[in-house]
Structures are given as structure tokens and as C-alpha cells.
């Protein structure tokens, strides 16, 4: 037996590019299948959610108005970082989900590839979803696919890493900023992601990560006036109902539930489809004189 002390990581939240503890001071021990404590996860509260939405709102301008080309580069850089920490991600996934090595490797690789795919979509989405509308007059009329705004993301507990990465990267593509609620089981991977995002070129506040049980975050995030879209996966029926009730006071705040199983998340045709991304954009139609 080693005579070194165990160094148990105390994981923080990720809000506005910083890593604060939960305002509530709560943590949840996360154990491996053998019952050994791996880390302490911050248990995010309603007020953390509020702070995260403020941070996401503040970051919206910078991320939404960056060029699609730049967003693609930034996401690609994120995939490079994932690649260089691949071993650590596999280890984490194995420890927290009792997956076999081969399965964990497969999921990590799929996650990295998913970010590359999403990076590629950044400067292609507008051509696909936008259009030039015929009008009776000397004008151009364009419909553009723009960011919706602040997106509240509820990541699934399984597949822990791939689910989180897919939803996060997809929502970032059109220039949205995010508040991501990650269930305790998937939290350790999320903390690694946040450490990478903190040093990537994603503006501080563009991705905010709240860890811990999501039940007390459903209402404050779903009903927050500054949230423009709710995107969830792996939500129970009751949770969907709560979210839809909370979001119902504004037609500008739809709730999208992505019902994919494990195989579905691994399938690019479903989980990296432009028709998935279509739900995450806002269409803006502009007129422009054809000639002066």
C-alpha cells in the first residue's frame, strides 16, 4: 500500500470563465464502483443557475458576433485539447461508469470526433438553413440562421461524455451561449471539459457548467426570462413537464428534448444532423436593395 495521501479532487462549478464553489457550499461525494471516493462534486443551487445565466447573457454578444469561421476554429481547438487529454478522459469515464476500457475509448473518440464535426458545421450551417427568398421588387431578401441566445442545456447521465459534448458543441455552433446542467455521474468528465474550455478561445461565460442533481435547476432555468431555449436529453417525463410549464410564459423559449439512446448518440446522422442544429438557431430575414 502506498504511503501517499489520497488526493481527492474537489470539483468546482464553471461560471463566467471562473471556477467557483457552489454558492450553497454543498458538495456530493462521487464514488467508483468499489465505493472509493473519487472526487467531491459541487452541488449547484438555484442561485448558481442565476449567476450562470447572467454570465451567459454577458458573453452572448462576443460569441454570437464572432465570425462563423472563427467559431469553427475555436471548436476545432477544443477537439485538439480533448485529443491531448484522451487518456485522462478514458480513465475518468471508466472510473465513474464502470465501463470496460474498449467502450470508454470508443466513447471518448466519438466525443472528440463529434466536436470536429460540429466545428465543421459552424461555417456551413447558414448556407444550408438560410436562403435567398424571391421577392417582387428590386431587393434581395435573405433569411439568415443566427444564434438564438442563451441556451439552458440538460445533459444526459448516459452516455456521460458523448451526450454532454454533443449537446454543448451543437448549441455553440450557431453562436449561442450555454448554461449546462450536468448530472452527478457525468460531472467528473464535465469538470475536465471546463478545464479545457477555460484555456481555449471560447469567451469566458460562453459555456457555464453546473454540476449535481438537476431537479432544483429545472424551474429557475426553464423559467428564466433571459434563457431563450431549453435543450435536454435523458429527461424523465415529470422533468419535461416541469420544464415546459416553467418555459410556457414565453413562446420565445421552446423546450427541445433530444431522445437518443446510446447508439443514437454515436450515430452522426442523428446526433450531428443539421436538422438537430436547425432547432438551435433563430431565423432572421433581412431586406437589402438590389441596386443603388
Amino acid at each position: 500500500m502506498s504511503d501517499r495521501l489520497d488526493i481527492i479532487k474537489t470539483c468546482k462549478l464553471f461560471i463566467g470563465g471562473k471556477s467557483p464553489r457552489s454558492e450553497s457550499g454543498r458538495t456530493i461525494p462521487l464514488s467508483d464502483s468499489g465505493g472509493r471516493v473519487l472526487a467531491r462534486i459541487a452541488h449547484a443551487s438555484r442561485k448558481d443557475a442565476r449567476d450562470a445565466v447572467d454570465a451567459a447573457s454577458a458573453a452572448l454578444g462576443a460569441w454570437r458576433d464572432s465570425t462563423a469561421y472563427l467559431r469553427g476554429q475555436v471548436l476545432y481547438r477544443w477537439s485538439e485539447m480533448l485529443q491531448s487529454r484522451r487518456g485522462e478522459l478514458v480513465e475518468t469515464l471508466q472510473a465513474t461508469t464502470s465501463m470496460r476500457v474498449a467502450a470508454a475509448r470508443k466513447e471518448v473518440d466519438a466525443s472528440i470526433d463529434r466536436v470536429v464535426t460540429m466545428a465543421g458545421w459552424c461555417d456551413k450551417l447558414d448556407q444550408l438553413l438560410g436562403c435567398r427568398n424571391p421577392v417582387a421588387g428590386p431587393y434581395h431578401n435573405h433569411t439568415l440562421a443566427r444564434a438564438r441566445g442563451v441556451v439552458a442545456v440538460f445533459a444526459p447521465s448516459s452516455p456521460a461524455l458523448l451526450g454532454l459534448v454533443t449537446l454543448t458543441a451543437a448549441a455553440l455552433v450557431p453562436g449561442n451561449t450555454l448554461v449546462v446542467s450536468v448530472p452527478t455521474e457525468a460531472a467528473l468528465g464535465a469538470v475536465l471539459l471546463s478545464e479545457m474550455l477555460a484555456v481555449s478561445d471560447v469567451p469566458p461565460g460562453a459555456v457555464n457548467i453546473l454540476t449535481g442533481p438537476r431537479e432544483e435547476l429545472l424551474e429557475p432555468l426553464g423559467g428564466h426570462g433571459a434563457v431563450h431555449l431549453v435543450l435536454g436529453s435523458g429527461l424523465a417525463k415529470g422533468e419535461r413537464t416541469t420544464l415546459r410549464h416553467a418555459a410556457a410564459d414565453s413562446i420565445l423559449r421552446p423546450v427541445i428534448c433530444l431522445d437518443l439512446d446510446e447508439a443514437g448518440f454515436h450515430d452522426d446522422a442523428q446526433a450531428a444532423s443539421p436538422w438537430l442544429l436547425e432547432g438551435l438557431v433563430d431565423f432572421k430575414t433581412i431586406w437589402h436593395p438590389a441596386a443603388i
Binding site: R50, V53, S57, E219, P220, H224, G225, A226, A246
Partner: protein, 303 residues
């Protein structure tokens, strides 16, 4: 003999007062009170009469009517002297007072003659309150007697208008200096036998220098006002300004006033908060208390 300030204990005391938890009905009352004490401010080079009119409309009715929340008007609208006429027109018949900065705001680096003329012009145009800056250059070069004399002269030039004296605490650097600056104001008004409560205010900052109204600098001013009250029985006003953007900061200030000067001071006549975007956050918090959901900034404001 200047009053020494224990800077470490001061910071500790100011931080400790910020840890009070104010909830539910008390919170709602405190938020409303903070709105009623607000000097809604716009001091930009790009200010136009149109913007001032919009600010004044907001000052009179801080919350959109359809939200159905009872929010009082703010205490005053604070503008540059050239825009006082626009504010006078927009605020006619309302309880909102008009404050104007003067004396070569924000630096004060202009001749005394010009600064006095500017003060008279602002009052002549209809300002009820004058926010003057002290000459930090004079103060920091040790000519505090001259600072006292200047405050007296500006006070005379302002006539019946109330005077708020901006120390620009961020430029005075030490806690002792801030207290000394406050003492200059105390000394300048000490000779006035008929000074009324709240006719003269101690104000922290212009909002153009960082740090601005830090909790500890506000506490020094509150303690100076307390010292003046104990020796003369006259209540000076206090106005923190600059960098106050969140409701929590505003509630912290109210707690400091209550604990340092007592409940009598919790009135717009004696305590003001100079801010612009703070109003949005106060209204947001009131919406949250009423409806249970967080509002977006788009719903509440224009500032």
C-alpha cells in the same frame, strides 16, 4: 488633529456588514427603498437631450406598468449642466429632483472662477442639487485649507441648491486621506449656523475612476457624518456613487447606513445612491420576488 482610521478594522467591519441576509418582505421593502434613494445618472460625453428625456421618464416610472409592480420614482436624475434644461422640462410636476454635476466635473482641474460660474449656471438652469468635485490636486499637495475654502465658495455659489461634495475616494488612496477629505467638508460647513439636515452631502466618487464606492470608503464617510452629528446635531447626507450595479451592493449599503447612523438616516433626504444600471437590477429583483422567476434585462430597462 486629523482623525486616524484603522484601515484593517474598517475593511473587516465593512465586509462583516455585507454578510447580513435580508429576505422576503424585508428584502422587498429594502429594494423599494433603494429605488427611492437612487440618483439615476447619465454622465457621458455622448449624452443628448433625447437620452436625458428617456432617463427622466425612467426616473419617474422605473418599472414598465404592465408588470404590475409598485416601484416608487427615484430621488433624482443626475446630468451634466448643459442638459439640465432638458431634465427640467422632462421632470416638470414630478417629485424627482434634478441634480447636476458642476465645478469642472470629473477632474475639477479648471480655474476657481470658471468652476463657480458653472455652479451658478447649473442652479440658474433649474438644478436642485449640485454635485461638486474637490480639487484632488490641491488636497494631495497638502493645501487642505484651500480645499475647505473652495467648498465654502461653491456652497455659496450654489445658493439654496443642496450640495454634494465628491471626494473621489479612489484618487485619495488611503483611508486616512479619505477621512481627512471628509473632514474638510465638515470644516467647511461648521461655520454655517443655519445649515439644515441633508443640505450638504458627502459623496464618494465621480464614477470615472476605479475603485469607486468601495464598502470601506463609504463606511469612512458614514463615520464622518456620525462624528459631525454628534458634535453639531446636524445630519449630513451621504452618497456612494460609482460601480454600484447589483441589488446586493445596494442592500449592503443600506445595512451600513442603518448600523452606522441609525434608522433616521434611511431617507432619500439623507442617503442617496448614484448609479445607472443598478435600477435595472433592483427592478429585476422585485420582479423575482413577486413572480418567483428571474427576469431578463430586456424586460426591465433601457439603461
Amino acid at each position: 488633529m486629523p482623525t486616524p482610521v484603522d484601515a484593517v478594522m474598517l475593511q473587516q467591519r465593512a465586509a462583516q456588514l455585507g454578510r447580513r441576509s435580508i429576505k422576503t418582505t424585508s428584502k422587498a421593502a429594502a429594494l423599494q427603498m433603494a429605488v427611492s434613494m437612487l440618483d439615476l445618472t447619465t454622465l457621458e460625453g455622448a449624452d443628448t437631450p433625447g437620452q436625458v428625456r428617456a432617463l427622466c421618464a425612467r426616473a419617474k416610472a422605473p418599472c414598465p406598468r404592465d408588470l404590475g409592480i409598485d416601484v416608487p420614482p427615484v430621488a433624482a436624475a443626475c446630468v451634466y449642466p448643459r442638459l439640465v434644461p432638458a431634465a427640467v422640462e422632462a421632470l416638470e410636476g414630478s417629485p424627482v429632483r434634478i441634480a447636476s454635476v458642476a465645478t469642472a466635473f470629473p477632474s475639477g482641474q479648471s480655474s476657481l472662477d470658471l468652476r463657480l460660474k458653472e455652479t451658478q449656471a447649473a442652479v440658474g438652469a433649474g438644478a436642485h442639487e449640485i454635485d461638486m468635485v474637490i480639487s484632488r490636486g490641491l488636497f494631495l499637495s497638502g493645501r487642505q485649507r484651500d480645499v475647505v475654502d473652495e467648498i465654502r465658495m461653491v456652497r455659496a455659489a450654489a445658493g439654496d441648491a443642496h450640495l454634494k461634495v465628491i471626494l473621489e475616494t479612489g484618487e485619495l488612496e488611503t483611508a486616512d486621506n479619505i477621512r481627512r477629505g471628509a473632514d474638510c467638508v465638515l470644516e467647511a460647513v461648521a461655520s454655517e449656523s443655519d445649515l439644515g439636515h441633508g443640505e450638504v452631502f458627502l459623496k464618494t466618487s465621480t464614477g470615472k475612476v476605479s475603485p469607486a464606492a468601495t464598502p470601506s470608503s463609504v463606511l469612512i464617510l458614514l463615520e464622518a457624518a456620525r462624528a459631525h452629528y454628534r458634535s453639531t446635531g446636524i445630519r449630513l447626507g451621504v452618497k456612494p456613487a460609482g460601480g454600484i450595479r447589483r441589488s446586493k451592493q445596494a442592500l449592503h449599503l443600506l445595512v451600513m447606513v442603518r448600523e452606522t447612523l441609525g434608522p433616521h438616516w434611511l431617507t432619500p433626504a439623507l442617503f442617496r445612491i448614484g448609479a445607472s444600471s443598478l435600477l435595472d437590477d433592483l427592478v429585476r429583483q422585485l420582479i423575482k420576488l413577486r413572480s418567483g422567476r428571474y427576469a431578463s434585462l430586456d424586460e426591465v430597462g433601457i439603461t
